[in-house]
Symmetry: C2
Subunit: 312 residues, 2 copies
């Protein structure tokens, strides 16, 4: 099962992603070494079964799973200090790559980015199934060694993910659109709630909860992510700002034409999002079931769905 | 149980809300009469058990449940043609009220707005439990008869909802913030996906799905809702546009100070949203459970939660 993954795998950073990856790899018997600046995180990850603390063994593959600001330096260090294939799981790809120019062994580096996460962080939030069926971007740069790309692809596949191969530039444009822009707009909507009167907020329904959920994510982490992908994010924000000017003009003047066009384009966008497990959109059926808000109702429904071999 | 609700109740419009209300009232034995311009909707609602077709009987309470553009004229007609208390379930309150100036019996009118709905519409989407535990705004105007306000309050309570009493102006500001702004920003995010390359969209995770879900709602209906609440919506959109300019400047210049402030304000906003059933925020606990993506897992979890008397 672990074919193609150079061992041992050294995971640098035992937060949510690093620990989850360790747990996923250990399921397949891969030898996993762990390191972290934070001893407590390291002990926790290790005691959860994500791997054993690194004691200097030379790794076959290094996975850098540290906050975005530290990805470049940690990848550089791994390239210089080992002869291993090196990857990272950071949310942006071009900025860290620029920081690696001229570093020895850069051909052994292939960036990657699993599209999995949580509003929580830290090793206690980890799960061996975090990557199951999720898209995982494998992002070789122009001078990446094809063997290194194959090793990182094998790693992502072993973790249970679906591979999407992209260049660093394409990757950063893609996540600006599918992750960073939605996050920032959710933040702006949520920001308008922060100082609203309580009796106004009493009218909050499911819609505003869904739209703003991601805005609860760690601001320190998102500051790094957005800053690391500044050009792509700024470009999209500017497009949305221009659309917003059209929208404000339409709403103010009562001109329903442009308002209707923008609303229609939104519907088209929701239909463009591919199926649950990434990759091409798969045929699904929507089944609407109304449930009374009583204990046990969801359990009954989902048990029946499971018995009928329906994937929810 | 049906105390305080003047009978029979005539429901004008047998879409999602009208039919759901009929079903909810029939549970309590209330006499419900139905009418709709669309005979097929009327037959469907009636055959579902939401009430019987109106044959001219004088109603005690009229509920206007038609699309936003038609609320004003239909309320006026009900006031003039009957001596009943009249309410509506539309999403905006000040614009229809302006259309009623000088209409006979306006003191019998009290607006209302249940915070319940669906991406779907029509009587087949209806459910008697649609309003269970949901906020329901009861919105008397300056000359509303207190007895009429009591009748509409009794109706909303009988439907299972939690009452939030607001003036028409407060109501429209509240829904601009908690419903119309989130909807429009979700639409703008979704709009950026409509023409994106498929390999970019392959990186879509749960976040973008949540943020954009509401953008799939009926554009024709939302055009009417947004237009009906234009001043409040335009005001909030302008605030967000100004924040967006700050954001674009911060991202472009790499100035993390203002970026961090905006992100922190977003977190504060998510915390300001009250508990599931409206009203004041109630203490809840978040329990994180990781599930493999296999059939039956959610059912097992929810069955265990139900057995433990946990409200999900």
């Amino acid at each position: 099962m672990a074919e193609g993954v150079p061992q041992p795998v050294l995971i640098v950073g035992t937060g949510l992603l690093g620990t989850s990856l360790g747990l996923a790899l250990r399921r397949h018997g891969v030898e996993v070494l762990l390191t972290d600046r934070d001893d407590e995180h390291l002990r926790t990850a290790s005691s959860l079964g994500a791997g054993r603390p690194h004691a200097g063994e030379p790794p076959g593959l290094v996975v850098v799973a540290v906050p975005p600001d530290h990805v470049g330096p940690e990848v550089a260090r791994a390239l210089v200090e080992t002869d291993a294939v090196v990857t990272d799981v950071g949310s942006v790809k071009t900025a860290p790559l620029r920081a690696l120019e001229g570093v020895r062994g850069i051909e052994r580096y292939v960036g990657s980015h699993p599209m999995a996460g949580s509003e929580r962080s830290g090793p206690l939030a980890a799960s061996p199934t975090l990557f199951d069926g999720r898209p995982w971007a494998v992002v070789p740069h122009e001078t990446s060694d094809p063997a290194a790309t194959e090793a990182v692809t094998a790693l992502a596949r072993l973790a249970g993910a679906s591979i999407v191969r992209l260049s660093p530039e394409e990757h950063d444009l893609a996540v600006a659109r599918t992750s960073h822009l939605p996050h920032l707009l959710a933040v702006l909507v949520a920001g308008r709630l922060a100082d609203a009167p309580a009796e106004h907020l009493a009218l909050s329904g499911q819609g505003v909860r869904d739209v703003t959920r991601v805005a609860g994510g760690d601001p320190g982490l998102w500051e790094q992510i957005v800053s690391g992908n500044a050009p792509a994010v700024a470009g999209l924000l500017t497009q949305v700002r221009d659309q917003m000017d059209v929208l404000i003009a339409a709403v103010t003047s009562g001109d329903r034409g442009p308002l209707g066009e923008i609303l229609e384009q939104g519907v088209a966008g929701t239909l463009a999002i591919p199926g649950k497990h990434g990759g091409p959109s798969r045929p699904t059926a929507s089944v609407f079931v109304s449930l009374p808000d009583h204990p046990g109702e969801l359990a009954r429904l989902f048990a029946d769905a499971g018995a009928s071999e329906v994937n929810i």
